[in-house]
Symmetry: C2
Subunit: 212 residues, 2 copies
């Protein structure tokens, strides 16, 4: 993707990346995004599930949701995600940092009217959160699809920003007897806990081997 | 806090909470927030570290940062956080959900000019990420403080939104032989990894017992 004024950071521009592989992989690893939008000059933000497929981001919500109704007008939105890989602990507070991988996408919603694409998008969103679950679940009904709005956002103007590696302490601090390094962070999926209606149901294969 | 039109959800209003204890505890457990703001009608969003102290949120950044310079003008911002506690796996895709605790704060920055408060805020932000580390680190210098802008945001208009508990499947689906329940999510801090300047430095006490 081409950098634009909006996707060029004012500082630490070397941390910015624009290639689709980097942008897409960060989007695909993020379970949730934050959608920021503006109404009458006031910024709003909502966290939500999403899926990327090819060069688009798909969100869904109730047809009655105020949020969805505003977005489906096609107003400008900023969709952001951040994965935090490690706390960067330096010898001085000033050089503390975070190893992160973030993406910002500037886009406008298009309402998905095509029924086949709508079903597909709902499957992508569901399987992003719980991979390989779609065929196992009670099939979606036409009424459920009618109650749901799916929005599609072209990924045209987007950038990734990354920090990796160890702390960068001042040279004169490097020999101080103060510990510096990384504290890795990881989000784990723990053992599933069944509800009262699953007492006699064995855990399906796709839930016994969860992605980390 | 009093609900306002901006902090009243259009749907699932029963999930909203306005008491300070709930709002503050979610802010305090979140390591990072997303700051959303608007320039010339275009929404922007940036993830950043922060700390809450009493009824304010504190952010910091380089005095040269475009982001910080825009915010310090006092433009309207929306600060949001989301903690994800579990994936809610229902018997139908339609009733899948997420157990989350989110907070949205509508506010405007005030630039912290008082030097004592500025130092304090930088300590709060540092110790939020690595508790009890401030006294151990190489002391901050006046020059470092001068290079940093600290912004303070009054928490006056804010709301929390929460979902807890098991999936809510349709009654006619409850006896289906499909597993339903929760997949708990947890962010863990893993064993610290020292850099090349810490080979002969033992891990300090505050890093051997990390918060989970």
């Amino acid at each position: 993707m081409q950098p634009t004024p909006r996707t060029t950071p004012s500082r630490l521009a070397k941390r910015a990346q624009y290639d689709e592989e980097t942008v897409y992989s960060i989007l695909d690893e993020s379970m949730f995004c934050t959608v920021s939008f503006t109404i009458d000059g006031q910024p709003f933000a909502l966290p939500t599930a999403f899926a990327r497929y090819e060069d688009r981001i798909y969100l869904h919500g109730s047809v009655g949701s105020h949020f969805i109704r505003e977005l489906e007008k096609g107003i400008p939105v900023c969709i952001s995600v951040m994965l935090t890989d490690a706390l960067v602990v330096a010898k001085s507070a000033f050089h503390h940092s975070v190893n992160y991988r973030s993406v910002v996408v500037f886009s406008n919603a298009e309402k998905v009217e095509d029924t086949t694409l709508k079903w597909e998008a709902l499957r992508w969103i569901t399987e992003k959160i719980v991979p390989n679950s779609w065929e196992y679940l009670r099939p979606m009904t036409e009424s459920e699809v009618r109650k749901t709005t799916v929005l599609s956002f072209p990924i045209v103007e987007a950038s990734a920003k990354l920090r990796t590696g160890m702390p960068k302490d001042d040279e004169e601090d490097q020999e101080l007897p103060i510990w510096s390094g990384l504290i890795p962070l990881r989000t784990v999926r723990e053992t599933p806990v069944g509800d009262e209606f699953s007492k006699n149901v064995s855990l399906p294969e796709h839930l016994t081997h969860l992605p980390s």
